[in-house]
Point group: C2
Chain length 440, copies 2
């Protein structure tokens, strides 16, 4: 038996007691019977909050904030900036018809492989290879998932285990952080100076290198960035790829909004930036720009080894994306001529209206280069951000998402401006009025 | 610093090295930097096999078994017993129409709460309360998921953590075991003497008590049992409930097939067996009996605390069951008069044909009291079960699922007999011929 340098400690946290033990400097976790384990499951879910997540406002109790209310009700139709309005921007023609055909086909379309229908994967793989500028293996390198959220979940589960360090941008999509924490990973934050940079997204590359030096072996980021709409420049993508190669880091790139770009903004796909195929998984889907969210369809493509693990897990998470729904992907990248350009022009007009309103009111706001999110900065307020967001809903009929969902951003709110233009402009004015009322 | 009785060992397993350390008899897992952690993620997925899972046959390489082939090809149309044939048994009228209406409704139906549309939950909760004989809280006690697989995944994730013991029936649905293992749980097997019992399902209640005494605090089981079609008697359900109450065990009851019963077979819902509401989650869905699998819809109902955790997790796993698809639940439990009875009579006829064929050939087979699965026992074979299943597909055009997917059952195969009757009978004869060829 070896001699051991041995120390231990006990940390109380709610109902659970987590014992940490160090032997020769190596930290160990302690398994100590099922009662403490059940407490740790409860603990895990306690940190997995969704009360302030977009779309869940209906479950909030309004009594919480009414005693903070100042000023009058501000009239106006409800605008829900927590997600896009698929009634204002309908899906491309033919999507419902593809679904109806799939129902007619019946069993063969209902029971696809877990990774999705082979013929649909083949079509989509061709289009994604064209779009991203790098080959996609239709048999081994692509999986159809229930929405891009499903793809993100599977990709993180397939790469991140207990104690693994993961580099995460701040701000970035709120579920990224929650997913890493759910699988026991540790977040190493990397700042995005989205207000300071214009030609770049503003990624702090020194911090990214430091994260990799500290042991992070996965880098998960959205491009265009959610919530700011910043697009990473070719220089930034190249720098990320060089660092990932040096440290053997797996890249998970969430490119959900990469088709909706403004003014022919350049876009560099990291999967085409010279990294080995095994090191990159890209995630896209037709839920947002194409307004097909009600069908829940996502795609992950790239590394065959990671896609294989994702399929294994999908087999016990949800079996497959709904079989009939998969057929709707046959309309993706096959919209009528000019359809995407028209959608971009319409969104750009709303973007410009809203950014002008917020900037005129002194709220610093990055001009998004792609996607349909805005992330204005508010002044210091007399109420907490969570209270302000609730008051905005109850007093001004406007729903936004708190910046704190995206990282340590207690002075920001996120808006999805894929809305009816007139309604969005009216609601933006109401936000400004509310800021005037509640500023500290 | 306390004195410690201390021992350790190193186990090599593929590329990963797992260190086990015992201090004062308590086993601990070792965290030792990100490289070993990455290996442990790979390890976790290595055990999560799907190569022999139903529906994945298309990904198998046929070269593996052809050198074992004996005898001639046995002609006949392909019958895929790995799942039901939704073309032979179409869904109830109105399902597609409800979907089409939801697409027309648009945004409100696309973006529901994560737990599903409130109005649809309210309707389904009423029907499930009537069906199961115990109240369902429509706001707090029900969640709509992507298929019953989605519900099982969320329910296990919400109750089982690292090192937790879970009582699992042998045989039972293959994903149960995989789910528990994925979340680091430990399976405590409980035998089902499905061939010995007729009035009971055959659960070994002494083993169930022993499992609870050994620390299992979750009991997951399917009723009717998948793969045998055995229905638990009122006596058995009552005994399970008494034990669960005594030990504070959470019950997860997969009742996917509980509507399709033969000869008015009695059925006891464990959620109505006197346990506190918090201790039971029941899972159902319209994928099987109602042939709506292509829509991927499942329901979990019961314990509000567990449902709340399931919703938190669904928010990062897949957001929600596809919004438009949820509307199809409006046809569930509202089929035309006599529809379910007719479906039961048709399935009973196929069941009786197939059981007669297998029993006449000397293959012991339980007569299923509900559902559409058969689990005949084969004699000792000259090839492995995995090889036999592949040969059956390549030589006789019949797809079945190996018994080893359901626990330690190397002499059994599972058939979903929800098929065209004539095709199913022909395929059953081919199975018998193949058994004659390959028996040891």
């Amino acid at each position: 038996m070896p001699l051991a340098r041995f120390s231990q400690g006990v940390v109380s946290s709610g109902t659970s007691e987590i014992k940490r033990i160090d032997i020769n400097g190596i930290a160990m976790c302690l398994r100590n019977g099922s009662k403490e384990n059940m407490a740790s499951v409860e603990e895990k879910f306690r940190t997995l909050g969704i009360a302030n997540a977009p779309g869940q406002e209906v479950r909030q109790r309004s009594a919480d904030v009414t005693h903070h209310r100042q000023g009058e009700m501000i009239a106006g139709d409800l605008v829900d900036f927590s997600h896009g309005d698929v009634d204002a921007f309908p899906p491309p023609p033919g999507s419902f018809e593809r679904f109806a055909e799939a129902v007619e086909i019946g069993g063969r379309q209902a029971y696809t492989e877990y990774r999705g229908s082979a013929s649909i994967r083949a079509e989509v793989a061709r289009d994604l290879a064209d779009f991203t500028g790098a080959p996609v293996q239709s048999d081994l390198g692509i999986i159809i998932t229930p929405g891009t959220q499903g793809a993100l979940f599977l990709a993180i589960a397939a790469t991140v285990g207990d104690g693994d360090k993961v580099a995460i941008v701040q701000p970035d999509y709120f579920a990224n952080r929650k997913l890493v924490e759910f699988f026991g990973g540790e977040i190493v934050p990397v700042a995005l100076d989205y207000l300071g940079a214009e030609k770049d997204a503003g990624l702090n590359l020194a911090q990214l290198r430091a994260a990799f030096e500290a042991g992070a072996r996965t880098f998960l980021f959205s491009n265009p960035n959610n919530p700011t709409g910043a697009v990473y420049s070719a220089t930034e993508i190249t720098a990320i790829a060089v660092l990932a190669k040096e440290f053997g880091v797996t890249i998970i790139a969430d490119q959900l909004y990469s088709r909706l770009r403004y003014g022919n903004k350049d876009y560099t796909h990291i999967r085409a930036a010279g990294l080995p195929e095994e090191q990159v998984v890209t995630i896209m889907g037709p839920s947002k720009t194409e307004s097909l969210s009600g069908y829940r369809l996502g795609i992950a493509f790239g590394s065959p080894a990671i896609i294989e693990r994702m399929e294994k897990l999908q087999a016990i998470v949800s079996l497959r994306a709904a079989g009939y729904n998969q057929a709707v992907l046959q309309t993706w990248f096959r919209e009528p001529d000019g359809w995407m350009n028209e959608r971009s022009i319409q969104h750009q007009a709303i973007r410009d209206d809203l950014v002008a309103i917020f900037r005129a009111a002194g709220l610093p706001t990055r001009l998004p280069q792609a996607g349909s999110y805005l992330f204005p900065t508010l002044p210091a307020l007399a109420v907490t951000l969570e209270e302000f967001v609730k008051l905005l809903r109850l007093q001004a009929n406007v729903i936004v998402t708190a910046g704190t969902e995206f990282g340590p951003h207690p002075n920001s709110i996120r808006l999805n401006f894929s809305q009816d233009r007139k309604a969005a402009v009216s609601a933006a004015h109401r936000i400004v009025q509310m800021v005037q009322i509640y500023k500290a």
